[in-house]
Structure formats: structure tokens, C-alpha cells
């Protein structure tokens, strides 16, 4: 159970209750709801209802921001997930046929132990933490998301990467029959991403399984996605099926699609503009019509933790 003693409940701990209310309202608006089903048991009853299982989550990570998290409804209705479509609402609208379970993750490449694992085995024994992170999209909007996940380092270390493992490559599932954006070929799928081994092992980097104490909805990258909070959102690859340790820098989908606009590192940087728009400020989602943009921070406000990873690097060149 998630909620602790009545006396010391933080706002983020109360939220899972309201998540269900918001979700029900969201579904009613979208015209799906059939009644009080969503308040029923907390276990998956009907996939079409998008009911989400609760996760056992430990809170209070020192890496969490105390900024107010975005509403669950905003987080699940405003997504970039081109596997389902280009529009921000497409992933919520068009991901109903996607089946995040059963799920396997393949680990291969430069490691002593490799193989294909059922997701439950892959994460077994690892406590799921709440990490309230800022998320900065390359499109100059941002959110604050209470992720539930596991530090990537904790999941990768048991595979004993060799000294030749300089990078970690990630791959999204390829299921055109369930993902209309893949059928339309909106990008060169499967989506691939990568990190340096130091970035992958950094304690801020997590693999998320949930938000707000419930498992990830399909549109947010179910059942397993990367979260790298100091990088633009597109680095945080969704619905991961393969993790590979590599010696060479792996290809990444957006840098292949538009090499002038998107680089391998994609660190949030207010001083390096996108060729077509400024990155100096961002719109924080959830403020309604009259919220002014806020200044974007170096490394999305995580400079203290990650700047040393890039010491001596020309961030204008390595954007």
C-alpha cells in the first residue's frame, strides 16, 4: 500500500487516489467510460478500459524535485510517441490496441551475461522508487512527472558489462499491427536511442515502470521506458525491448532523421538553440492560457549532478 501514516502525507502521496478520479473523468470525456469500473479493484479487468495496476513505490528520493507535479491527466494526454501518431493526443487515442504484457527485454553486446528475460524477472528484487523529475521536451515545453522506476545502473550492473562497453543502446518494440505510426512509417522504426556508459550508470538515470504510483499507460511508453531528466525528452526512449552494450556510439533515431537539428547528446541547454526555435525558455504545461514561459536551465536544472560528465566538451558541437 502506498499511503503512509495520516500525519505525514505529502501531496504527491495523496495523488494516487485522485489519479483514479481524474482518469475516470478523462475516459468519460473521451467517451469510453462505462460506469464505475475504474474504481473497482485496482487490478486489470478490461484492457480497453486502460485500467492500471498499482505499484509498490518507495518515496522520498533526494533526486526528486519538490516542484508541483503535473496533473495525471496532462501527463497521459499530451505525448510525443510517433509510433502511435504525430499529434500530441494521438498516443492516448490510438494506443488502445497495444499489449504491454507479456513483455521481454533482451540484453546483449559487450557484457558477461546476456539473454532475453521476462520483464518481471528483469526487474525482480529491485525496489521501485518515486523520482519526481522535470521533463524538458526539445519542442520547448516541459512538465514535472512523478516517475516510478529503478535506477538503470542497478539493473545493468548484474550483467557485468565488459571494459569494451562504452555505450548503451536501446530499442523500442516493433509492432506495426498495434502501432499505427509504425505502419505509416513516420520515422525510421524501430526507434533507437543511446547513452554513454557513464550517462547510463548515472544515479539520475532510471528505467520507469509507472507514474503516480500506477503502471505506465501505453501512451507513456508501457511497460518500460528510459528517463534521463537532463536530456531532451526524445532521449527517454519508450517501450524498450532491447538494451545493448556497445563499443561504438550507437545510432539514434532523431539524429538520423535530422542530423542538423538533433545530436547524440541532446543535453538540455538554453544557450544552444534548435536551428528553428529558441531553447532559452520553455512553457510549463498545466498553467492554462496565461502562464508565461519560464527560463530553461542548463542540463534542465541537473547541472550540479551531471555537468562533470561533460567537462571539457564543446556542448555547441556535441549538441
Amino acid at each position: 500500500m502506498l499511503i503512509g501514516k495520516q500525519s505525514d502525507i505529502r501531496p504527491a502521496e495523496i495523488t494516487p487516489e485522485s489519479v483514479y478520479r481524474q482518469r475516470r473523468r478523462f475516459l468519460q470525456q473521451a467517451g469510453f467510460a462505462t460506469g464505475g469500473l475504474l474504481l473497482a479493484s485496482g487490478c486489470t479487468a478490461d484492457e480497453d478500459e486502460l485500467e492500471l495496476r498499482r505499484l509498490a513505490v518507495s518515496r522520498g528520493s533526494p533526486f526528486s524535485t519538490d516542484e508541483e507535479p503535473n496533473a495525471f491527466e496532462d501527463i497521459i494526454s499530451y505525448n510525443n510517441f510517433y509510433e502511435f501518431g504525430l499529434g500530441k493526443r494521438d498516443p492516448a487515442r490510438l494506443s488502445g490496441k497495444f499489449h504491454p504484457r507479456p513483455w521481454t527485454v533482451t540484453v546483449d553486446g559487450e557484457a558477461e551475461r546476456t539473454g532475453t528475460f521476462d520483464l518481471d524477472d528483469f526487474i525482480r528484487g529491485q525496489p521501485i522508487e518515486e523520482r519526481v523529475y522535470r521533463l524538458r521536451c526539445v519542442e520547448a515545453w516541459s512538465m514535472v512527472v512523478p516517475w516510478n522506476g529503478i535506477p538503470l545502473a542497478a539493473l545493468l550492473k548484474p550483467f557485468k558489462p565488459t571494459s569494451r562497453a562504452k555505450y548503451v543502446a536501446f530499442e523500442t518494440v516493433m509492432r506495426p499491427e498495434e502501432m499505427p505510426g509504425q505502419r505509416r512509417g513516420l520515422l525510421d522504426f524501430p526507434y533507437v536511442e543511446g547513452l554513454t556508459i557513464a550517462e547510463a550508470m548515472h544515479p539520475l538515470t532510471i528505467l520507469a515502470l509507472g507514474i503516480y504510483g500506477v503502471e505506465l499507460p501505453n501512451q507513456n511508453g508501457a511497460p518500460l521506458r528510459l528517463v534521463v531528466p537532463w536530456k531532451y525528452g526524445f532521449k527517454s526512449i519508450k517501450s524498450i525491448v532491447r538494451i545493448s552494450f556497445t563499443e561504438q556510439q550507437p545510432p539514434t533515431t532523431w539524429s538520423l532523421a535530422a542530423p542538423r537539428e538533433y545530436g547524440f547528446y541532446a543535453n538540455v541547454n538554453p544557450e544552444v538553440d534548435h536551428p528553428r526555435w529558441s531553447q532559452a525558455r520553455e512553457r510549463r504545461i498545466g498553467g492554462g492560457l496565461f502562464n508565461e514561459k519560464i527560463p530553461t536551465r542548463m542540463f534542465n536544472g541537473y547541472a550540479e549532478q551531471v555537468a562533470s560528465l561533460y567537462a571539457g566538451m564543446d556542448l555547441r558541437k556535441n549538441f
Binding site: 499530451y78 500530441k88 515545453w141 513516420l186 526555435w277 525558455r281 512553457r283 492560457l289 508565461e292 514561459k293
Partner: protein, 217 residues
């Protein structure tokens, strides 16, 4: 190309009641139809019908811009349609459509100035001078301004032949508007491509008709 004033149309062998009926019903109908997208946006802004979503400023920006482009193309469709159908009375709707296109474009720009940039002059100047897709969109809007201002009968009389020449600006405006949309999208250009194809068709129809028009005049 002659100016299709009502006076000219009424000299044609068309029954007067039909023309009157069209004027009495057609223009108000068009006015309501062209106002409807704005009313729908206002309704959603007030929180109805699912609202404007998680990023309302972006929704307004996209919707207002798209409707400006649609109405601009509708304005440009009048002449080819009129020729194709031989339905000259369509010409009387062109000015209203053009003014609505300008109106939506102006609101699109106002939304950018106000809700997107909060009148941050430095940021706006930087955008217009350094971001090509914004430069192009701004040029399109600026070029529409003299067309909107000289759209009255009075200005049309005063400018005479030059009115016609001035209003040919609508062609580069439409090209700039499509270009603005094209450069704005992140990856998939299907939607801008559809608008550009329609524009190409509408401009092509004019080129294609020109020799024939000359032959008959």
C-alpha cells in the same frame, strides 16, 4: 480580368430574385460558417467540449493558423470555381473570405505576441529575424495587411487598375503561408503537403485558363 461587381452581374441574364436571394442568404450564411471555427475555439477555451488540452496556447496557435490558411485557399478557389462552374455569382463571396483569412491570421499572430511571448519584444524580434519559418509567416501577414485595408469599394474605385495589381499579392501570400507551415513541422510534412498541393492546383488552374481567357476577350 474584370472586376466582378454586383452591378455587372445584374446586367447578365440572371433572374433578379435569384441574385437577391443569394445576397440575402449567402453572405450571412458564409459569415456564420467562417465565424464557426472561432466560436468553437472560444467554446473550448471556456472549458467545454474537452477544452484546449494540456497546452492551450499551442492549440490556439495551430488552430488559428490552420484556419487562416484554409480560408486563404478558399478565397483563391473562388475564381477557378467560378470559371469551372460558370457560376459568376460566387465572386461576391471572395472579399468576405479574404477578410476572414486575414482575421484568423491576425489572431494567430496576436496569440503568438500575447499568450506565447507575453509581448517580450526582444524575443519576438529575435524570432522574426532569426527563425526562417517565423520570418516567412510574418512576411505573409504583413503582405495581407494592405489587401485587407484596400478591400473596400472606395479603395477599389480610387486605385482603379492598380487595385488589381496590388491584390495579386495574394498569390505570394499564399505561397509564403504554405511555406511557413512546411518549415514549422518537426518531421512529417504530409499535412503541409496537402495544402501546398491544393495551392498548386489553384494557381495552376489560373495559368491553364489564361490562354483561353485571352482568346475569348
Amino acid at each position: 480580368m474584370p472586376a466582378w461587381t454586383c452591378a455587372r452581374i445584374s446586367r447578365r441574364p440572371v433572374t433578379v430574385p435569384a441574385v437577391r436571394r443569394l445576397q440575402l442568404i449567402g453572405k450571412p450564411l458564409l459569415f456564420v460558417a467562417a465565424t464557426a471555427p472561432l466560436a468553437w475555439l472560444a467554446w473550448r477555451t471556456a472549458g467545454h467540449a474537452g477544452g484546449l488540452g494540456a497546452n492551450p496556447v499551442e492549440t490556439l496557435q495551430d488552430e488559428l493558423g490552420t484556419w487562416a490558411l484554409r480560408l486563404l485557399l478558399a478565397t483563391l478557389a473562388i475564381t477557378p470555381l467560378r470559371r469551372l462552374l460558370g457560376w459568376n455569382r460566387l465572386a461576391q463571396f471572395r472579399r468576405m473570405l479574404g477578410l476572414f483569412a486575414f482575421g484568423y491570421a491576425a489572431l494567430h499572430f496576436l496569440n503568438y505576441l500575447w499568450l506565447d511571448q507575453f509581448f517580450d519584444l526582444a524575443a519576438i524580434v529575435e524570432d522574426i529575424t532569426e527563425r526562417p519559418f517565423i520570418t516567412v509567416g510574418f512576411a505573409a501577414l504583413l503582405s495581407m495587411l494592405p489587401l485587407a485595408l484596400t478591400s473596400t469599394n472606395g479603395w477599389r474605385r480610387r486605385l482603379g487598375r492598380r487595385w488589381q495589381q496590388l491584390h495579386r499579392l495574394v498569390y505570394p501570400v499564399a505561397i509564403l503561408a504554405c511555406w511557413h507551415f512546411w518549415w514549422q513541422v518537426k518531421k512529417d510534412v504530409t499535412e503541409p503537403l496537402v495544402y501546398a498541393a491544393i495551392l498548386a492546383l489553384l494557381l495552376g488552374a489560373r495559368l491553364w485558363r489564361r490562354p483561353a481567357a485571352r482568346a475569348t476577350s
